[in-house]
Amino acid sequence: MNRFYVDSAPIDPASVEALVRASAYGAVATFSGIVRERADDGRPVTGLSYEAHADMATAEFERIATEAIERFGDCEIAIAHRIGELRVGETAVVVAVGAVHRSRALDACRYAIDQLKARAPIWKREAYADGTSEWRENCAHDEAAP
């Protein structure tokens, strides 16, 4: 199965992890981004709507993975991003990294999710309990890796 994809079907983190498990690897690090009940400004959220340039997004995921391997060493990376309407508690994105040792897996996982948020052509509309909704951009400085 392809290790980089954008899909409107719910994402099962375990299925993404399964793409990077290998008998040579002692470590799998996984990040799951989940729709939470409040916006950064505290407003109650009822759901998110994601859209993507699917071909460009998956190509970007692959470039990010290649960069992570160049920086941190051999590892296997899978990235899945949901599109469409998501309710609170649903998984929007999963990054999974398999590696020989834990440090590399964790480093590559953080790099990949930070870069995905900064670069991948994916957009998010946040819907609020008061019936309004807004397109939300990721800030360039938003939790960039230290």
Binding site: G33, Y50, E51, A52, H53, D55, M56, A57, A59, H81, A92, V93, I113, L116, K117, A118, R119, A120, P121, I122, W123, K124, R125, W135, R136, E137, N138
Partner: protein, 81 residues
């Protein structure tokens, strides 16, 4: 020449389409495509500075020339993850 324009998020909403064909003079660049779109939908004008362009899936400068059959993607600031 005819190019396919694909638009996302706020740009998609303001333009009123997610994809359509756009007829341009031969040799037109991305800036000229934007100008043509903004004439039909002036509400996109303020977003020019934050918009990035991709030609056939690759990010390019606004001075890049288009060819018949190209896909021109209009990309607002991203919000994935």
């Amino acid at each position: 020449m005819i190019v396919r324009v694909v638009a996302f998020a706020r740009l998609r909403e303001l333009l009123g389409f997610d994809r359509r064909e756009l007829t341009l003079g031969d040799g037109a660049d991305l800036e000229q495509a934007w100008t043509a779109l903004a004439q039909a939908a002036p509400a996109i004008e303020p977003l020019r500075g934050s918009t990035r362009f991709a030609r056939n899936g690759r990010l390019v400068d606004a001075g890049e020339r288009l060819q018949d059959g190209d896909e021109l993607a209009l990309l607002p600031p991203v919000g994935g993850g």
